[in-house]
């Protein structure tokens, strides 16, 4: 379980997070929605200890992230897969080497046969051809980079997956592919995921629950249906800004119908 308890963070005079509290239960996918610059990525970076909150607690698997020693933090990070906004692939390494870097277990990472098989397995999971393994990041498209980033994040069989804007900068078709991939990974691997996004439609598709970050605070948390029905003006304003609102509503109605 991931718990954010009353966390605050400011950069110089800019208050990014102000008393944010959120709980992500084991096995569920939570989408963290909000406009750009509202502190969504900062929240993710606090979960795996890349940033520290000014106040409050981040607890992952019962461990207080801010109080962990270097070795303990490294062990915790090996249980958390992080998908970066632009892939953050290492330019000087091939796709295979990038994915191998995600195999964090010391014994496993020394076993060439295991690593080779694991790289193939991860490429299959993210719908990439095996030939891609030989290529360098500069030789593949933006969508493929994102998928390689996901493959690297799952290579170490993490318990948690953090996605930072997984569909940003992609065309709608590729964005749909990535959303589908997140959904499928959730079903196949059963990981606990947090998806940071400002793409309402994609988030509603992949998430069990949605949290809206608005003006440095969590404004609303609930299932996609609950968020859609929210009367909160901030929530409505954010949702209405999305041009695909009508499509979401149509999908939500369809989902309600199916459930009924």
């Amino acid at each position: 379980m991931i718990q954010l308890i009353n966390i605050s963070k400011r950069f110089v005079t800019n208050v990014v997070l102000d008393g944010v509290t959120l709980e992500v239960r084991d096995g569920e996918t939570v989408a963290l929605l909000g406009p750009s610059g509202v502190g969504k990525s900062v929240t993710l970076k606090m979960i795996n200890g890349l940033l520290r909150p000014d106040s409050g607690e981040v607890i992952v698997d019962g461990l207080k992230v801010g109080q962990l020693k270097r070795a303990e933090l490294q062990r915790l990070r090996s249980r958390i897969g992080y998908v970066f906004q632009y892939g953050a692939l290492f330019d000087s390494m091939s796709v295979e080497e990038n994915i191998r870097l995600g195999i964090v277990d010391e014994e496993e990472s020394k076993d060439d046969t295991y690593c080779s098989n694991r790289v193939k397995e991860c490429l299959r999971l993210v719908n990439l051809a095996l030939e891609v393994a030989e290529k360098y990041p500069s030789e593949i498209s933006g969508g493929m980079k994102k998928r390689v980033g996901i493959a690297r994040a799952i290579a170490g069989k993490p318990k948690y997956l953090l996605y930072d804007e997984p569909t940003s900068g992609l065309d709608p078709v590729n964005a749909d592919v990535i959303d589908g991939l997140i959904e499928r990974l959730q079903q196949e691997l059963g990981v606990t995921s947090i998806v940071v996004s400002h793409d309402v439609r994609g988030s509603f598709r992949v998430a069990d629950r949605v949290a809206l970050l608005w003006q440095a605070k969590i404004r609303a948390v609930g299932t996609p249906e609950e968020i859609l029905q929210s009367r909160d003006p901030a929530v409505q304003q954010f949702l209405e800004r999305d041009l695909e609102m009508s499509l979401i509503q149509a999908e939500a109605e369809g989902r309600d119908g199916t459930k009924a």
Binding site: L50, Q74, R75, S78, Y82, F84, A88, L89, L101, V104
Partner: protein
């Protein structure tokens, strides 16, 4: 008027205060970086292969420019010695001037300044780009240390390669200096050798080596530190690269004076 004066004083205090805080912060971060590097030494399985790779790149890549500059430095020293000393001092003095200038000053300092531009800029730009494209964060998020994966190989490679390049630069400067003196002044090998040996002390070579190690640490650690802490996108990478080269160059000149005073000043 009095109020304006008070505001100016207040501003000055604020500026000095901010500058002092920022400097103290930088010194603290730099110290932590050095401590982290020592802590990372036991993880040799990670940094040794990468160090070999970096040393090969840096060594081979810099060899031509270092030898070219050293050759020209030797030639120019030789020509200027001829211009100043001919007719006033015995010719064998040229051998002493060329060898001592190259070993004590020109070899180590010119090599370090050239490498501050070449290696320093490269390290700062590489690490800066990796920082702004979140590659360093990615490494950390995978539970791996950027210090042992990225910084230590670069610093250790520089510490191994730069003194070696400096010694080669010294030798090249001496050879080219001798041949230039032979062609322009008619200096014989025996005169050159006599002059060079007459003033030479083993400490000179140690001094050259010690200086080159100090400069190697400067050329590698300052750009690595600046690149590692880069912020604000492509503009930040550009700024980090320039700052790294300028800071490393100024530090080299400062260290040159300090090491000279420490090792030769007491004599």
């Amino acid at each position: 008027m009095a109020r304006a004066g008070a505001e100016l004083t207040l501003d000055l205090r604020r500026i000095v205060g901010r500058w002092s805080l920022r400097s103290a912060g930088q010194v603290g971060r730099f110290t932590y970086l050095i401590v982290d590097m020592f802590r990372g030494l036991p993880e040799w399985r990670i940094w040794v292969p990468r160090t070999v790779e970096q040393a090969t790149n840096v060594g081979y890549g810099s060899l031509f420019i270092v030898l070219l500059v050293a050759g020209f430095a030797g030639a120019v020293t030789s020509l200027q010695t001829g211009y100043q000393f001919t007719g006033t001092l015995p010719l064998y003095y040229a051998g002493a001037v060329i060898s001592e200038s190259m070993i004590l000053e020109l070899g180590p300092v010119l090599t370090a300044l050239i490498l501050a531009g070449r290696i320093g800029a490269r390290y700062a730009a590489e690490l800066g780009s990796m920082r702004v494209t979140e590659q360093i964060d990615a490494l950390e998020s995978l539970g791996r240390s950027p210090i042992t994966h990225l910084l230590m190989p670069r610093v250790i490679a520089g510490l191994l390669v730069i003194p070696a390049l400096t010694m080669l630069a010294n030798a090249t400067g001496l050879f080219v200096g001798y041949f230039t003196a032979k062609a322009s002044l008619g200096l014989t090998y025996s005169d050159f050798e006599y002059g060079a040996r007459y003033f030479f002390r083993p400490l000179d070579l140690w001094y050259s080596l010690i200086k080159s190690v100090c400069f190697a640490a400067t050329v590698t650690m300052i750009p690595c530190f600046i690149g590692y802490n880069t912020q604000q996108g492509a503009e930040g990478v550009g700024r980090a690269t320039t700052t790294a080269v300028v800071s490393a160059s100024v530090t080299i000149l400062l260290l040159d004076a300090i090491v000279t005073q420490l090792l030769l000043g007491a004599k």
